[in-house]
Amino acid sequence: MSTSNTTVAAAPLENEFGISFDTKLSVLPEKKGTSGEFRMKYYGFPLGVLFFLLLYLMPLPSGLTLEGQAAIACFVAALVWWITEPFPNYATSLLLMGMLTFFNGWTEDKVLGVFGLEVIWLNILAFILCSTLVKTALSKRAALWIGVRFGHNSLVVLLAFIGLQLFLAPFIPSTAARTVMVLPVMLVIAQVYGSTSENPNNFGVNLFMQNLQGISIFSSGFLTGSTCNIVAAAFIFEMAGSKVYYSDWMFGMLPITIIVMLISWFIGPRWLYKIPKVDRAPKLPGGIDYMRQELEGMGKITPTEIKAAVIFVLVLFLWATDRFHTRWFGFEISAVMAALIGVVISFIPKLGLLKWKDADIPWHVMIFSAGAYAGGLALFESGAARWMVGWLFAVVGLKPGVPFWLVYLIVIAFSMYAHLFFTSKTMRSIIMIPIIIAMAQQLGFSPVSLALPAAFTLTWVVTLPTNAKPNLILYSTGQFTISQNLKYGLTMVTIGTVVMFIAGFTWFRWLGITP
């Protein structure tokens, strides 16, 4: 019954304008490359091999094990190949897993065990939940509503999504959950503006990149925005004796996140991936009126859509209230288990909404992410990540007497760009924050003045699809390439560093965070 409703509702747009409300994420789109991309592919492989050989065969530095050295060499080679794409990214991930095992960068059982990690399961379950929204056409209804309400101009749509991410950030700590909520709507809006996975345009790049950034950057605006924030605050309390309250964090960082996202919204469609004026209006003939007609044509909300909404709200409720679970139920329902509950209900015959064939899981993304996590975890477990942090600070040569602004700049820049190598935010928090606190104490500065601003940047994981779960999920849509992600991400991270640097001597000083 639900299927027939969906098909009837989606048909006119699909047939007349080639717009699909049922984009299959599991099907890899064929893309036309640019001349630069073909050149990168060609030279990327030897470049990766060169990096690997240099790192693997260099004399072992003090403090590093052979295992750590192998993990660094394998990960850097894979990073080069992910960016230049001489092979599809999932093939690079599989190659990385093989290299880690073969060159003894990590043990085989641990490499293969990555596929059982919570992050992979959460991705799989999130995609199934996303399929529920797509199948019941609830996502189409929401997309049309947003299109009618804000869709007169592409820039307004982009701003509306930034506002939506800001609204969701304090309520839903799980970034993957926020992504899954918004993804189906984004897919449809992108198509309305002529951006498909086969032929993505600059509107699609801006829409997906700005949401990717919004999800991660707004997480830094709230103490509860991510586990790594809480871990960092705990370290600052334990090691430096300074309690960081929710309000301290929010007043300190939220204005900065809003400023940076507004900059992203301003420069993205105007300079980085310029949306031509002709593309700023919906591609649909009739534009907003047509979308309004479509929305009206869908009629009243159907029982299947209500079922999907109920399931989704239930999962969101469990995600948003995780801190109260123990008080209510006597145990905590993790993000994965909450998603699992929703998925199980969706699959129950008669009561549910999905059959297995409807579940749209992009397995290539799962393999891609498994490889990325294997690389990141190998760096962490072998001690290579810890060694790299210590080595970088030692190379910079920070000694007592160095002016605060220089130390502050180095710490902020380092914590901003560190996500390029260390995939896990929590691990970065565990490794970096204590080192920064110890360094601040050694240099004679207040630990909070360096550790708290550094902690503010932990969730800014916006440069590569491998940096975080939302990035992977959004990358699976084919709306942007790795190099586009890198360019936009590096630009925003650099802008973020500058804004944080200015804030260090203005806003943070006024708040009493920096001296």
Partner: protein
Amino acid sequence: MTTQRNQSVRTLITASLLLLLGLMLPVSVFAQKYTRIAVCNERLAIQEDGSAQVTTALIVTDSSAELLAYPMMFGKQEGLQVLPESVSHEYQLVDEENDRWVLSLTAPGVDTVTLSYTVPNVLNWDEAGPFQFNSYKWGYSFSNWSNSTIDIYQMDILLPQGWNYHRVLKSMPEMDEKETFPPYNFLKDENRDAHLLLIGEDLKLGDECSVSFVFKPVTASTSMIMIGIVLCILYLWYFRFLLVKAKQIETDENQAKANS
């Protein structure tokens, strides 16, 4: 009657006090014989033939005991050689049952004791490996069977020349997942020896400090470089059509620009 009773009470109190004094005296004497090892540095330099040069440096504080019993590394072995010139204190192997050095101290106060000796067959190469990818396994465990608490215990294990640490399998103290630094560190000195420095704190009687690890020979593999070069050449030859495509796209784009 009252005087008699008073007298017997007095006698009872006096006897009790004497008994108490009698009990306290040996306790106080024993309490004085207390020794604390502030720092214990053990250096174990393993040689290619499997023997090891052992150096133990102890800094003893609050010492009032005349004798310090300290566990011998690897027990009493046949062929155990003690280098007399490097032993700064008189020693005698009296506690054979427990394999402990018993050393005379310059009591009371701070004292430094250094022991240096060679132990054969510390590393049995046949038992150690080779395992997968030409790796070898070994480990060392220290249990504090001395008569003192050790505040800081440092174990420095040097591998033979040409070998390096691959990974630590297990250590005591353990590294908790939430901790920033492990209890061990890998070091190198100028002559490229691989050190593993394990640190334990506040080792009481019977407490253990141990590490087991995998190590491998250091090889600068030219074959790997050759394989890398061959793979790159094959790739560049087989995928040369990518450059052709890139040029084609550029030509098309230039032509389109020229036409417009």
